[in-house]
């Protein structure tokens, strides 16, 4: 509560007290630029983190709701085993639908590797059966046992071995996104601290005069804290606005381009970057406050 009151005092301010510290050109520009650049990067890190989260969820959902049955058998037994497998699947609880892929569909799946003119009829290619699951899903172990008994050439792939590493990779990317945001915050605090230290050192004479006339440390610190907090807020607001515009202007999500075009915000998540400027202001408030207390102690 005390922190919030102090922070609100920064925004309400004391216009006359602000004038006590002379405007310092390069620290003002440095703080504005650093805050803007960091906010811009934070917008992208946030977009990356959200996009990887969405991607992990999509991959998980898509792969979790489907599985594939592969039937490898001599060509004269292939149709019979396919029919037997379909019969097993139709009677399996948790299987919403099952269908054998047509020759054209199998050719399409293989064309990226073998080209469009693949003579699929002359090759010993296994028959694939696409299985769609219900919400509850089926008993994988039970189905495998039944297939082993009734369709010896069938191999069930429930996508677990694909899904887990993909989800893990997406989770790591999302974690890296948040780590990046944390590092950006820390770097912002470091830069603002350096700028505040420079401003405090440059104004040692001002501080001496203020002490001579009875100014308490809180008053002196507040003059610097308010200035740096407002500069950071302004810079971060600019950087966030530019970052959001850049994200908005990215190409729309397309299946062909996959993850790259999916980098962005959707729906309510567009509101998330708006948190960046106030957070930058809080970081600046804390960093400048600490720098001011330290410098005023050293100048005593």
């Amino acid at each position: 509560m005390r922190f919030l009151n102090a922070l609100s005092a920064v925004f309400v301010g004391d216009a006359q007290a602000d004038r006590v510290v002379p405007p310092t050109g390069y620290t003002a520009r440095l703080t504005l630029f650093a805050a803007a650049a960091m906010a811009f990067l934070t917008v992208f890190a946030l977009a990356l983190s959200l996009a990887t989260g969405r991607l992990a969820q999509r991959w998980g959902n898509e792969l979790a709701q489907s599985s594939t049955l592969r039937i490898s058998a001599p060509s004269e037994q292939l149709d019979a085993q396919t029919d037997a497998a379909l019969a097993v699947l139709e009677s399996t609880p948790g299987v919403a639908s099952a269908r054998a892929l047509s020759a054209d569909e199998q050719r399409a799946l293989l064309s990226p590797w073998f080209g469009p003119d693949l003579p699929i009829d002359s090759l010993p290619i296994p028959q694939l059966i696409e299985i769609k699951e219900t919400e509850q899903g089926y008993d994988t172990v039970g189905l495998r046992h039944r297939l082993q008994a009734e369709v010896p050439g069938a191999v069930l792939d429930d996508h677990t071995r694909w899904r887990r590493p993909l989800e893990k990779a997406a989770g790591r990317l999302r974690f890296l996104g948040w780590v990046s945001i944390g590092l950006i915050g820390a770097a912002t605090a470091a830069m603002i601290t350096l700028a505040a230290n420079a401003a405090l050192s440059a104004n040692a004479q001002v501080i001496a005069v203020l002490r001579l006339i009875g100014a308490q440390d809180g008053y002196i610190a507040q003059a610097f804290v308010r200035r740096f907090t407002l500069r950071s807020l302004t810079g971060a607001a600019l950087g966030t606005a530019i970052g959001m515009l850049a994200i908005f202007l990215l190409p729309a999500a397309q299946d062909e381009a996959g993850f790259l075009t999916g980098l962005g915000f959707s729906g309510a998540s567009w509101a998330l970057p708006l948190v960046i400027p106030p957070l930058a202001a809080v970081v600046a408030y804390l960093a400048t406050g600490a720098a001011a207390r330290r410098t005023l102690g050293e100048l005593a």
């Binding site: 006590v20 002379p22 006339i213 009875g214 308490q216 008053y219």
Partner: protein
């Protein structure tokens, strides 16, 4: 009010002041003399807590300076107006704001005080220079502005370090007159100066004690004025 008991102060390995004791009573007027480098400025700084003695005790308004926090020192300085030799202004603020800085930092700036500010600036003869920046002022104007800033909070004590150091004789008389007027209002005054003519000029206008720093010691310089 201000009490120094057997204080010593060392700087850079050498002792500047040794075994100095003084009790400054309310409403008194003191001159502090001594050659350049004898420790007059150091003595004044000890008197308002800007320096802490290496040994001995300094009490300001009954409190030992060693036991005071930085904020306590700040509050004490609102009761002690200081006129520095080099005045020390914020060069980017006009005279009016420099003079009213003590009010600003103590949160006592109000309409009544602003009205007092105008009177105060007129009293020190800067009524028409209120909007000027400190670098635009002459030496005498700077000293008068510094005096106005030192007294705007109506402090109990005014300490002045060579207040007439950079001004001509007429202006030093004017400044002395202002300090004498303050003393007649009940303020305690301590002026550090090497200008013996200024001290002689005060004779007949004020009852003052003349102190001298010599060989690191504080002595009474002849008879009181």
């Amino acid at each position: 009010m201000i009490e120094l008991n057997n204080i010593a102060y060392s700087y850079g390995g050498g002792e500047l002041l040794s075994d100095v004791s003084l009790k400054i009573a309310p409403g008194s007027f003191h001159f502090l003399t001594g050659p350049s480098g004898s420790g007059k400025t150091t003595f004044l700084k000890l008197c308002y807590g800007a320096l802490v003695p290496t040994s001995g005790h300094v009490e300001l308004f009954g409190r030992d300076v060693r036991e005071m926090s930085r904020d306590d020192h700040a509050l004490t300085r609102r009761q002690i107006g200081v006129v520095h030799q080099d005045c020390q202004f914020l060069d980017h603020l006009p005279v009016r704001e420099n003079v009213s800085l003590p009010l600003m930092v103590s949160g006592r700036e109000n309409l009544e005080q602003v009205s007092n500010l105008k009177e105060l600036l007129s009293w020190v003869g800067l009524g028409n220079r209120a909007g000027a920046l400190p670098p635009e002022l002459s030496g005498g104007e700077r000293q008068r502005a510094a005096l106005a800033r030192a007294v705007i909070m109506s402090p109990d004590v005014v300490l002045a370090d060579e207040p007439t150091g950079n001004v001509d004789w007429d202006m030093s008389q004017r400044l002395l007159q202002l300090l004498v007027e303050l003393n007649k209002m009940g303020k305690t005054i301590l002026i550090a100066t090497h200008d013996m003519n200024l001290i002689r000029a005060a004779k007949g206008h004020v009852q003052a004690r003349v102190l001298r720093i010599s060989n690191r010691k504080l002595q009474l310089a002849g008879a009181d004025l």
